[in-house]
């Protein structure tokens, strides 16, 4: 019984991290209708930047994070401006292929630059236990991940739903031509959306990198998690990613505790398939009209 409670509790906290991994992907999909295959690799790249900056330049991990957010925003904006914006008018397939190519380039560039070995960003909080009571315990890192994820998702939701900039972004995602007719520079909205995505992804990268070991090739694994989160929560729904993340996290850990660790991934994705059959648009997604 204790192991079930432990699995649910850790699963919810892990789900927060999953949601933060997925939220950038959901933003890009919701706004540009693009599936960013390079999402996981960009996140791992940001984790490497933060790791290198803390190890070599700064003592403070927060300072390293801020600098790597800036670097990632520059990379994201360049990718958006010179790669994605130049093909986006031709439909979503060319853009999908561009991100696929980017993923391969990033993975190999990271192996060349950082080597194939495993890395971990060690922080003061990684070792802390919030409590330990009999068989139950809660890790400080997991709790931090969850809190940060919820804060970021709430901020993004308010930004998109309540501000003038958010209305511009939503109008662009709703109808590009009409948005242009309102005087909105839609390509600039895409660049802003990319910058927001990169910020969220970079924070996710730090948390992932200080929770689990990572390799230059880890991106794919997290891409699959992001897919799961976004599909369960509803493509393009930001609050949906939180629900999607928690469902995926809890089912994975319940699966592991009931059937054994090898079944962790399997149970998560079986639940994904069941939800997809019952509600193809995702829990908070909008059904397609017409």
């Amino acid at each position: 019984m204790a192991s079930i409670v432990q699995a649910i509790m850790t699963g919810i906290l892990l789900g927060g991290l999953y949601a933060l991994i997925g939220v950038g992907m959901s933003l890009i999909f919701g706004i540009m209708k693009i599936t960013n295959i390079a999402h996981g690799d960009l996140m791992i790249l940001s984790a490497f930047f933060t790791l290198m900056l803390t190890a070599n330049l700064f003592k403070s991990i927060i300072l390293a994070l801020i600098v790597s957010i800036i670097i990632m925003i520059v990379i994201g904006v360049l990718v958006q401006k010179f790669l994605i914006n130049s093909v986006i008018d031709k439909g979503s397939e060319p853009a999908l292929l561009v991100t696929f190519g980017l993923s391969i380039v990033l993975q190999n560039a990271m192996i060349l630059k950082f080597g194939p070995n495993s890395q971990l960003i060690s922080t003061a909080i990684s070792e802390v236990n919030i409590f330990r009571h009999g068989q139950l315990s809660m890790s400080g890192q997991y709790l931090l991940n969850f809190v940060v994820a919820v804060v970021i998702i709430v901020i993004l939701t308010i930004l998109i739903n309540r501000t003038s900039l958010g209305r511009g972004i939503r109008a662009t995602s709703n109808d590009v031509m009409a948005a242009e007719l309102m005087g909105i520079n839609t390509k600039r909205m895409y660049i802003i959306a990319m910058a927001l995505t990169m910020t969220a992804t970079c924070i996710a990268g730090l948390l992932v990198g200080s929770t689990f070991v990572f390799y230059p090739s880890s991106g794919t694994q997290y891409l699959i998690i992001a897919f799961g989160v976004v599909v369960i929560g509803g493509m393009g729904s930001i609050p949906g990613t939180l629900i999607g993340g928690i469902i995926l996290g809890v089912t994975q850990l319940l699966g592991a505790s009931i059937f054994g660790t090898p079944y962790q991934m399997l149970t998560g994705y079986v639940v994904l398939l069941i939800l997809l059959t019952l509600r193809p648009q995702g829990l908070l997604g909008k059904a397609k009209r017409k």
Partner: protein
Amino acid sequence: MSEIILEVSNLDVFYGDLQAIHDVSLKIEKGSMVSLIGANGAGKSTLLTTIMGVNKPKNGKIFWKGQDITGLSTNKIVSRGLTLTPEGSHIFEDMTVRENLQVGSWTNKSREAKADAEEKVYDIFPVLKEKRTQLASFLSGGQRQMLAIGRAIMASPEMIICDEISLGLAPVVIKDIYASLRKICESGVTFLLVEQEVKRCLKYTDYGYVMVKGGIVMEGKCSELPEDKVSDAYFGIGEFA
């Protein structure tokens, strides 16, 4: 003769090898209500999207208040005060009525101007005020066109081009919308109305252009244009065959 607000001179537009617009010229006076009449496929929408910077012309120029705007991007043209309500309204369905209007005032930076414009819209279309917190996708066809026009007004434009606003609407609703357009026109906004229906255009607008097969075949004051001749041109019969 008052000031010319929009001038199109000798425009040629191609889709690949196919020429959709042949040597079209228009002059629109400030404060007037002008109609562009033509059947399906006459090239009306191509002309409009070219004016708004969506298509690029092969030859010819477009002047807005004397300045060359040929080849500018749509959002830049809109921020200069020329806007379009597209065919089929294209309202933002996932947003509320009020949010649609707020997006409409994107180029309008002052808070007061925004609030004034919103009041003006509610004044002209009271039904939008009633429904302002509802999602735009719940609006009826007529209300959608009202929202599209209202959204255009939010930018305080000097000229609005309306692409087939009466399409699929009941005659009473059309009459209401035309009356509102006249009201807006009297407040100083120039209109170019693109329509398929000859009679209505001649009745409600000041000046008319008739477009057939990508070219302008007839123009004149609506009170002086003979309806039967316009109809002949429209259907491509008689001397226009």
